[in-house]
Symmetry: C2
Subunit: 310 residues, 2 copies
């Protein structure tokens, strides 16, 4: 058991898919992050308060991703301790920035710490994936894994889990621009076709391979060329007004590449250096402003640590 | 102009696809290799002799991959020199080991050398691709590029060409087993479906990304796990008797992974070290023998130089 009865954990936003890596890649960024304050107290798992969600998230533990992850963890560990959770939502809901995963990761990382850290980060993943199933109907790992472990994670396989950490170059930055429009992951998945042409398949796997090579060679131009998605983006981008124009503005603004973060509506760009990320972010924000859409911008380096206990 | 009137070039066998990397990856191996003896003499491009083809290849330059590559090269360079070619075919024809590319690469590399090396290896690729179009109906680069340049090449895009050299780990070996059965590339392409499920697409691009990561991390186990093909192998393997049994024997014999080389019928395994490649090759050969099928086995390290002038 930990000496401390209370712990705080911040868990980062994540960019799932990274264009070509549909359903298999996710990248953790430094900002923003959800914070869970976890206390060993009482009976069962109780969510005492949720700040920053505008009253939209369920406070019942079994219906909230943070609660579900902790409940599943305690059940698996056969522990009957009481845990209280106070959740500070800094990630916008339904944004495609891994909001549900971040809350679950923050909470389960804290719970694991409070009971003496019996499990590794990777071993906590199944509980977060179970929470993801509650949130979006599919137990995917492409947000959960990088959120827990940091960096760029390739989910080679889910059953059994096969996670591969891909090194990213030092100057790589990411800007996330979240427009004030709502896209539900469930709806975003519905617009996807369940088959693709062999020709598009070939383009897609050439690009996932190239993206890994670009990251590991620190070849920023190659990273940019590989950030191409012929599978999900052509249909999902319909949900984002003027998507092609936004993308063009981002590239002109200095982005290596640009795409939809997760199932959107947030837009991500990978860039070289903070200054390029800032100008690319401004370019995107201006496009949204011109359409009368308010947006928030988050500029940061890659988060290489995952969730952080503080 | 070169001082020498005659040059000899050996160009290696190549394993296209490497299971998951259908149409986008190719690996050059050390053995076997086609040899072209090239001489500046006479008028036009003349194939003086072809050894080792059993009389099957056309001797007319415009119908032979070696001749086509040289003709296209001279045309592009606006050169009207005479070149004589003697071809030693050491690669079995229609084997899936890149036989047509090897002859074209050997010849065009020699021709380029004889006229003073105006072009780089990469710049010679379009001429070899044109020769590939004659041989198999598609101007693909997944044999031609590694044959010219060596190593593992990712063909990210063909128009415009975007070739990425992927470093391979030092102990990586390859065994090729060529059974005495014939599969034409044209026929092998015919059995492929022109669509695939999104689910299979996701598996395939997870594996191409993982294969690159495995190579660059020198993670041999990961290389083995990534050598999975859910796109071409399920249909193409029908053309190879007892394919699943052969694969299982190869793995038990020490292969990291095993698949169809190019469009077959040659089988390739990637292994760690020469000894493992030998035992895996023997295991496959025994399976073919048990079916009364003679086979040839080639064991080697990765060829990192491509075609070699000697």
């Amino acid at each position: 058991m930990s000496k401390n009865n209370t712990v705080r954990v911040v868990a980062p936003a994540t960019v799932a898919n990274l264009s070509c890596g549909f359903d298999v890649m996710g990248l953790a960024v430094e900002k923003p992050g959800d914070i869970a304050e976890m206390t060993l107290a009482g009976n069962g798992v109780v969510i005492k308060a949720i700040h920053g969600d505008g009253g939209l998230l369920p406070a019942e533990a079994a219906a909230n991703t943070a609660g579900v992850a902790v409940l599943e963890f305690l059940k698996a560990q056969k522990l009957s301790v009481g845990i209280e959770i106070i959740l500070h939502k800094n990630l916008p809901l339904g944004s495609g920035m891994g909001s549900s995963a971040a809350s679950a990761v923050a909470a389960v990382t804290g719970a694991n710490y409070l009971v003496g850290s019996p499990l590794t980060r990777e071993e906590l993943l199944p509980f977060v994936m179970e929470a993801e199933r509650i949130a979006c109907g599919a137990a995917h790992a492409d947000n959960a894994a990088p959120c827990l472990m940091g960096g760029l994670i390739l989910v080679r396989h889910t059953e059994p889990l096969d996670l591969i950490s891909i090194p990213t170059p030092k100057e790589l930055t990411c800007v996330l621009v979240h427009p004030d429009i709502e896209v539900k992951t469930r709806d975003a998945r519905k617009v996807l076709k369940d088959t693709l042409s062999l020709k598009n398949g070939i383009l897609q796997w050439a690009n996932t391979a190239a993206l890994v090579a670009g990251m590991m060679k620190a070849d920023y131009d190659l990273i940019g060329r590989a950030l191409t998605d012929v599978v999900a983006e052509p249909t999902r981008s319909i949900l984002i007004p003027n998507f092609e124009k936004i993308k063009e503005a981002a590239r002109l603004g200095g982005a290596l590449g640009c795409g939809i973060s997760g199932s959107g509506p947030a837009i991500f760009c990978l860039c070289r250096g903070i200054a390029a990320a800032q100008t690319a972010g401004q370019a995107i924000q201006q496009e949204f402003e011109a359409m009368g859409i308010h947006s928030e911008t988050y500029v940061s380096f890659v988060n290489t640590q995952g969730a952080i206990i503080f």
